[in-house]
């Protein structure tokens, strides 16, 4: 686990994300050109597609990185992702009650409800904070999504796509920080990445008919919520766990003891 290789993993993820992101936009642009184009160009669609491309690229590079993990890192990621997946599922049931907020406040109810959205990025923050390996954010968020889908979610298998976008963009943030910094600002930035990913998927699937100010407010609400319910909560929970000594053999445990 040399510094060099960690850096390598980071670059691969950034590079693959950037390439696939650009490629998607380029393909979209060509498809929208000329007479009888397949699709019509819109900036917001371009952003959506670019972000999906970045997430997919990060995912491809991450899955190569994960092959270099130790068994312990893999099992820990999957188990924590699995526990959080159960929490995601419970949060989904609670979420239905928020329908009243959404419908009760005309228009802006969406944004108010989204103040509770940030919990769904917890896996993408907590696990990389503990494991500190390239691919951890994406892997954990995907496991969480798979588990919550298998337990039975009202969004069914679409949560797999959300998981990919959320984990993928959080992963890119950790990669941009070189997989060396796991302070609160980085965690909050990563959770903002995840929030952006969630917003993009939801916009594409569910909300593309809503008025622009509402959609923008939703994004802001998710940023705020992500910072608290994932960024801060992920760190607090991990630190409480590390204090029990259970994480002594993880990157977080080692970092704590070295001070």
């Amino acid at each position: 686990m040399t510094g060099e290789r960690r850096l390598g993993g980071g670059w691969a993820i950034i590079l693959a994300g950037a390439l696939l992101g650009i490629a998607t936009v380029v393909v979209y642009w060509f498809a929208s050109q000329g007479e009888g184009a397949w699709v019509t160009w819109s900036e917001i669609n371009a952003v959506v597609l670019a972000a999906m491309g970045v997430a997919a690229g990060a995912a491809i590079a991450s899955s190569e990185e994960i092959k270099r993990w130790t068994t312990w890192e893999s099992i820990l990621t999957a188990v924590l992702g699995g526990v959080i997946g159960i929490l995601f599922w419970l949060w989904g049931l609670f979420w239905e009650l928020l329908e009243f907020i959404k419908a009760g406040i005309p228009g802006y109810g969406y944004a108010v409800r989204d103040l509770f959205y940030g919990f769904w990025f917890l896996a993408a923050i907590l696990v990389p904070y503990i494991v500190r390996r390239p691919g951890a954010a994406l892997a954990a968020e995907m496991v969480g999504a798979i588990v919550s889908a298998l337990l039975g979610s009202q969004w069914g298998l679409t949560v797999l796509i959300s998981g990919l976008a959320q984990g993928g963009l959080a992963e890119v943030v950790f990669a941009l920080r070189g997989y060396k910094h796991y302070d609160l600002p980085t965690l909050i930035a990563a959770s903002a990445g995840a929030a952006l990913g969630s917003w993009i998927v939801d916009y594409a699937f569910w909300y593309n008919e809503l008025a622009v100010p509402i959609v923008v407010l939703m994004l802001i609400a998710r940023f705020i919520s992500a910072a608290v319910l994932s960024g801060w909560l992920g760190k607090v929970l991990s630190d409480a766990l590390a204090a029990t000594g259970a994480l002594d053999n993880t990157a977080l445990g080692r970092a704590r003891i070295q001070g």
Partner: protein, 275 residues
């Protein structure tokens, strides 16, 4: 774990399909239904899903009625009632008030939107049921590894997590009992709840982590991932019929969307019907 959805061991067309391609086919259906905003298209997909459950998967009704009913109730509570009370029409559109008392009123258009959203949710849920009920968890993970290039260590990690799930449930019950004996009452304040959540979460997670560590060492002691190659006792195959299923799902989705558009019932997909 006794989840809302459970694997139903049986032999059927869907049970025999390759899990990864089955997932891809069902995903296509889910994505197709997600893009529609009218009540009729989801209804069509819902009927398709029910048909697949009974005919292609031979899953008995009692296996899937519970989750469907739960989400029906959730949808009715959430979507239908919320929209019935609080529906806000697009500017310039009239609303039909069914009932009014003081500030409370029930709006017909709201109920329509609520029903549409509920049907959408149910049709999304039914494809998850289809997948979970007909897919052995071990085969699913092995297929992800063998066909979808899913990292194998993580795949086995998921199996370990899945094995742990029933234990977490019993353990949570024990922890709650133990804390009650300590005199830790469940306090209703926000702060009290937060502290209580931590009190449950920390021992539960700490024990899950310790167990994971021991499992990881046990797996390493059996040379997990030590060789450049590993073989599989259960080989999960891909056959032409799996690809045919995927193509069939895509075609079915296209046919439903196209048919609904022809009938003038489709909303979404950039289609807004005449008011």
């Amino acid at each position: 774990m006794e989840g809302l959805l459970n694997y139903y061991a049986a032999d059927s067309f869907l049970h025999r399909l390759n899990p990864t391609l089955k997932l891809a086919g069902l995903m296509a259906l889910v994505v197709a239904v997600t893009m529609a905003f009218d009540p009729w298209t989801p209804l069509a997909f819902l009927l398709l899903g029910l048909f697949m459950l009974r005919v292609l998967a031979r899953v008995p009704v009692r296996q899937f009625i519970r989750p469907l009913l739960l989400f029906l109730v959730l949808g009715a509570l959430g979507f239908i009632s919320a929209n019935a009370f609080f529906y806000t029409p697009l500017p310039g559109r009239p609303v039909t008030i069914l009932w009014q008392a003081g500030g409370v009123r029930i709006i017909l258009e709201g109920i329509r939107v609520g029903i549409s959203l509920t049907l959408r949710m149910l049709s999304i849920v039914i494809f998850s049921i289809l997948f979970v009920a007909t897919t052995d968890p071990t085969d699913f993970v092995l297929s992800l590894i063998q066909q979808a290039r899913f990292p194998f260590r993580l795949g086995y990690g998921i199996l370990v997590a899945y094995r742990f799930m029933p234990m977490w449930r019993t353990e949570l019950e024990i922890i709650r009992a133990a804390h009650r004996i300590r005199g830790a009452g469940e306090r209703p304040t926000l702060r009290g709840r937060w502290e209580q959540l931590q009190r449950y979460a920390v021992p539960l997670l700490a024990s899950a982590i310790r167990k994971s560590e021991r499992v990881a060492i046990a797996m390493d002691s059996k040379a997990f991932g030590a060789l450049p190659r590993r073989t599989y006792y259960r080989d999960v195959h891909v056959r032409p019929v799996d690809w045919a299923f995927l193509a069939g799902c895509v075609l079915a989705a296209a046919a439903i969307v196209w048919g609904m558009a022809q009938l003038g019932l489709l909303e979404g997909y950039g289609v807004v019907p005449e008011a």
